[in-house]
């Protein structure tokens, strides 16, 4: 599972027929992605159509660290001939990261409109919620806002039926 993008070159070289798209992260890093992989992102698809070939597409909402992983994801999912099972296993490994990173993936997938990545990561968060008590949910997602005593009473009464 190599994670490094192919060596950078602004224009496609004759020996490599695939068209490469250049992306720039919020912190100035540049990445290259094959067109086929880039098309996984509806956002990028629109931008490519607008004929910005050559200049790196700026993505102010995504850091370099995350963009690298997103490129990796899209490239993997654009690969031909990968069977469902191994792709699923690869996906599972891909999201086997800490919660903050998963959230970053969600934001990036949302911004770049990558349905596969969005669904994958949202499922992960849903699984994280499962089996947790409200207190654990607060701790895990670092939720600081608290109910007033009356609200607290109300919300518990509203929901206690699920725990009888």
């Amino acid at each position: 599972m190599s994670s490094s993008p192919p060596p950078s070159s602004a224009a496609a070289s004759p020996s490599c027929p695939k068209k490469m798209i250049a992306l720039r992260s919020s912190d100035g890093e540049t990445f290259e992605i094959e067109e086929a992989a880039a098309l996984q992102s509806k956002t990028l698809e629109n931008m490519i159509d607008e004929d910005c070939a050559g200049t790196p597409i700026p993505l102010p909402n995504v850091t370099g660290k995350i963009l690298a992983k997103v490129v990796e994801f899209c490239s993997k999912h654009a690969e031909p001939g990968v069977d469902d099972e191994s792709l699923r296993a690869w996906d599972a490994e891909f999201v086997n990261v800490e919660q903050a990173t998963v959230f970053d993936y969600i934001l990036a997938a949302n911004f770049l409109e990558i349905p596969t990545l969005l669904n994958l990561t949202c499922n992960v968060v849903a699984d994280m919620i499962r089996g947790k008590t409200p207190d654990e949910i607060r701790k895990f997602f670092n939720i600081k806002s608290i109910f007033s005593p009356e609200e607290e009473e109300e919300v518990r009464r509203e929901n206690h039926w699920a725990f009888e």
Binding site: A100, F103, I106, A126, I129, I137, N142, S145, F147, A162
Partner: protein, 253 residues
């Protein structure tokens, strides 16, 4: 961190969880999320989520058309709660009925077992009586045979007394009583088989009751006070009287 995900994405997470084939988020999880904070309370209470749960957990019967479930005044979550509690009550009553059915089966088995025991007791008494009579008759017969040969006068006297005291014709009486004895034995054997069978059924019913009533957090105390009413029925059932000892007397030497 949750603050860093906008509403729309939290909605997406919850929707995916609720709709996923793996059913990551059920009614319970949504309620936990609701208790976590104001924002999540609002987001987790939305109709779109609960109407999905309503149709997947409490599908309307096929005769009814779908989407008739949301009433204008109550939210889908409120409706779900109503269905949920109704369903729970139904299940509780069904469980209660199952327990009662099983308990009455057990009472029936116990009643039959007692009846069989009573019959066994009667037959055993009859057997005892037959065996005893048979034993006496054999003695009389022996005596009358012995009288045909010489005996010391003392012995002869006793034998004459025995023969004269016997009011019935010995030979025919012996065969009658012998027949009675055999029939008794047969009957006892049949009763014992029924007894074993009934006991097996009782044990099976008891196991089934235990399994119906099993709950990991409750220890089932069956002290007998709720089985068929009276606690006396839970006394250890005595073994039927042993028949073998009387069988030996039937053999002539």
């Amino acid at each position: 961190m949750a603050a860093f995900l906008p509403d729309e994405l939290w909605r997406h997470v919850l929707a995916i969880g609720v709709k996923s084939p793996a059913k990551s988020l059920s009614y319970k999880e949504l309620c936990c999320v609701s208790i976590a904070c104001r924002r999540l309370r609002r987001l987790s209470g939305e109709d779109s989520l609960w109407s999905h749960l309503l149709s997947s957990d409490f599908p309307p019967p096929t005769s009814q058309s779908s989407a008739s479930s949301s009433s204008p005044s109550s939210s889908c979550k409120a409706l779900y709660r109503i269905r949920f509690e109704r369903d729970k009550e139904k299940k509780r009553l069904a469980h209660r009925r199952a327990v009662m059915r099983k308990e009455s089966q057990i009472a029936e088995h116990l009643r039959r077992i007692r009846d069989i025991e009573a019959s066994l007791a009667r037959e055993s008494d009859k057997l005892k009586a037959s065996a005893s009579e048979l034993s006496n008759l054999h003695k009389v017969r022996q005596a009358s045979v012995a009288l045909k040969v010489w005996q010391p006068e003392v012995v002869r006297g006793k034998q004459k007394q025995m023969v004269s005291q016997c009011a019935v014709p010995v030979e025919s009486r012996i065969s009658a009583v012998d027949m009675e004895f055999r029939l008794c034995k047969q009957q006892i054997a049949i009763l014992r088989k029924s007894y074993e069978e009934e006991r097996r059924r009782l044990d099976a019913a008891k196991r089934e009751l235990e399994s119906i009533e099993y709950h990991p957090l409750r220890r089932c105390e069956r002290t007998g006070s709720n089985l068929g009413g009276s606690s006396s029925r839970r006394k250890e059932i005595k073994r039927p009287i042993d028949v073998e000892g009387y069988g030996k007397l039937a053999k002539t030497s």
